[in-house]
């Protein structure tokens, strides 16, 4: 549950970015470029003299926004696809799942790159692209859980009481599959943050002057030999965040799956 704690701290930092950051992330100071960590700039400054810590804190907002936004999109659309495929089965299942297999077949970063390349790089395009990439994973998890839940006697009993398919899907099955869905969602957030960093690193994600962790690594790349702090701190931040969300997901899964408790 340490992961959960760290994840919550990162979310809090992102929300209160303007209060927490020591200085303006976009304040340019040419007299103080590429300075190593000091009392005034705890993590140093970049090639334009901007405070790296402040830019990281503001970047958290972007990274988490993309992570949560994209996961919400994939969870909603993937969940809906999986629910329909699993519940109705037969040809609906085949059409939905084979369609999603096409999406699944592409490497996620490549697919997200393609979407952003078509849409043009922007905050919303990045969220949408990463969201679409995540749909098959959610659809598969939801479908397989629905397959086991729909065989339960209480679903048959609900049908015998005259309740419609639609109501059974959303009010009887959905609450019973939320636990695995939430666990997958935490992994989804971690994955989305990674992809966002990669896209920004490649220059197709968040555009300057906004700060994003991936973008900062990209900018620091040129100074890697002379001034490693520039790329190092954003890299560490991504690592800690992704790790925290993954650990959080693991913890949730262990807590909710009685089979793992021995």
């Amino acid at each position: 549950m340490i992961g959960g704690g760290v994840a919550i701290i990162i979310v809090v930092i992102a929300i209160f970015a303007p209060l927490l950051s020591p200085s303006d992330p976009n304040h340019v100071d040419f007299g103080n470029t590429l300075s190593p960590p000091s009392f005034r700039n705890p993590l140093g400054t970049d090639h334009l003299g901007r405070d790296i810590l402040s830019r990281l804190i503001y970047g958290a907002w972007v990274s988490l926004g993309v992570g949560l936004g994209a996961t919400a999109i994939s969870m909603f659309l993937g969940g809906l696809c999986g629910l329909m495929a699993g519940y109705f089965g037969k040809s609906i299942d085949v059409i939905i799942m084979r369609g999603l297999d096409v999406v699944w077949a592409f490497p996620p970063v490549l697919l997200a790159l393609a979407f952003v390349a078509i849409e043009g790089p922007s905050f919303s395009a990045v969220i949408l692209a990463i969201g679409i990439v995540g749909i098959p994973m959610f659809a598969r998890i939801v479908r397989s859980t629905v397959l086991s839940v729909k065989e339960k006697d209480y679903i048959l009993a609900a049908r015998a009481s005259g309740i419609s398919h639609f109501k059974i899907m959303f009010t009887h099955i959905l609450p019973n599959i939320m636990a695995p869905l939430v666990v997958v969602a935490t992994f989804g957030v971690a994955g989305a943050i990674m992809i966002e960093s990669i896209l920004s690193f490649l220059g197709l994600g968040i555009q300057p002057p906004a700060s994003s962790w991936g973008l900062m690594i990209n900018e620091g790349q040129k100074y890697l030999r002379t001034f490693p702090y520039y790329s190092l701190f954003p890299g560490l931040t991504i690592m800690i965040t992704v790790f925290a969300f993954n650990a959080f997901g693991d913890g949730l899964r262990d807590a909710w799956d009685p089979k793992l408790k021995t």
């Binding site: 037969k90 339960k152 006697d153 209480y154 048959l156 009993a157 609900a158 049908r159 015998a160 009481s161 005259g162 309740i163 419609s164 009010t171 009887h172 609450p175 019973n176």
Partner: protein, 322 residues
């Protein structure tokens, strides 16, 4: 066609298409339940009892199952051509069903009150308070102590007997004409069984609800049912009022079934068993399906299935030699 029949099943066939095989789970079943009557359907596991019941509500898992042919008349109206939407109005309102495993029949994610009120709200409508009052009334009707508290509880907090009472309550809220009970007491211990049976008996007498009672327990059959149909391998092989079925069974299978029930009043060392096994319903034997296990079987039993004939007044049996 008889006006007093609540349900009349005519030559129902429900098959399961599994890979290359056709499993004939229900193979030409005809039944009737009269008004206010409780028809018991008895037979070994896998003889098609539950599938007959699910076919009535059109809840056969499809695929692989499919109702291939037959008519089901409910209050004189054939249910088979009805749409799914029309069936939904009948399920839970005109025909309700209670199941074998009470604790598995309720959704663990919702409180009892939530689930009862959903059914009442769907079929009867009404404001929140009316629905709640109706739920409390129906819980009192099935003799649940402290119904207010039960409404806010979740299925895992109740015992099996309690949940079965709740299930019965849910099934009778809309005063159905037919209540299908699929082994409602099998998963309960013996004293709870007695209470549930007594409750069902009371409901039948007070409300005049007709019942289709599926069981493999002959003791329970004699306790609650007014008539009985014995099923074997997807067919009804004997049908009569409960007295003559239990006192003077005509079909050798029914006779063997009754003889294999342990009795306390006549001591014996060994239980009688029926030799052989239930036939595989994908490759059932030709002619009378019971002939490989029957001590009366002759050559003619292999050739054609015996028709249901009325051997005594109101006592039908499908056997050449009984």
């Amino acid at each position: 066609m008889n006006d007093e029949d609540v349900i009349r099943i005519n030559d129902l066939r429900t098959y399961f298409f599994v890979e290359e095989d056709v499993v004939k789970a229900v193979d030409g079943v005809s039944l009737r339940v009269r008004k206010g009557e409780c028809l018991g359907v008895v037979g070994e596991s896998g003889c098609g009892k539950s599938m007959t019941a699910l076919s009535i509500l059109r809840l056969v898992p499809e695929p692989p199952g499919k109702i291939v042919s037959g008519q089901i008349y409910f209050r004189g109206k054939d249910l088979m051509p009805l749409s799914e939407r029309a069936m939904r109005k009948i399920r839970g309102k005109d025909i309700s069903m209670i199941f074998q495993e009470p604790s598995a029949s309720m959704n663990p994610a919702f409180s009892i009150g939530n689930q009862i009120q959903e059914v009442i709200g769907f079929h009867q409508g009404g404001g929140r308070n009316t629905v709640r009052e109706k739920a409390l009334d129906i819980l009192r009707a099935v003799q649940i102590p402290d119904p207010r508290r039960i409404l806010s509880q979740y299925p895992h907090e109740l015992s099996g007997g309690m949940i079965q009472r709740v299930m019965i309550a849910m099934a009778i809220t809309c005063v159905p004409d037919l209540l299908i009970c699929d082994e409602p007491t099998t998963a309960l211990d013996i004293s709870t069984q007695a209470q549930i049976i007594a409750l069902l008996n009371e409901l039948r007498e007070e409300r005049g609800t007709s019942m289709l009672f599926i069981t493999h327990d002959l003791g329970i059959l004699s306790w609650i049912c007014t008539s009985a149909a014995v099923m074997y391998a997807g067919n009804v092989i004997e049908y009569s009022d409960i007295r003559s079925i239990l006192r003077s069974p005509l079909h050798p299978y029914t006779q063997a079934l009754i003889e294999s029930t342990p009795r306390l009043d006549t001591p014996s060392d060994r239980l009688k068993v029926i030799p052989g096994q239930v036939p595989n319903l994908a490759h059932s034997p030709p002619g009378c399906k019971f002939h490989p296990r029957c001590h009366l079987a002759k050559e003619s039993c292999r050739e054609a299935p015996p028709p249901m004939t009325e051997k005594e007044e109101g006592h039908w049996v499908a056997c050449f030699f009984s």
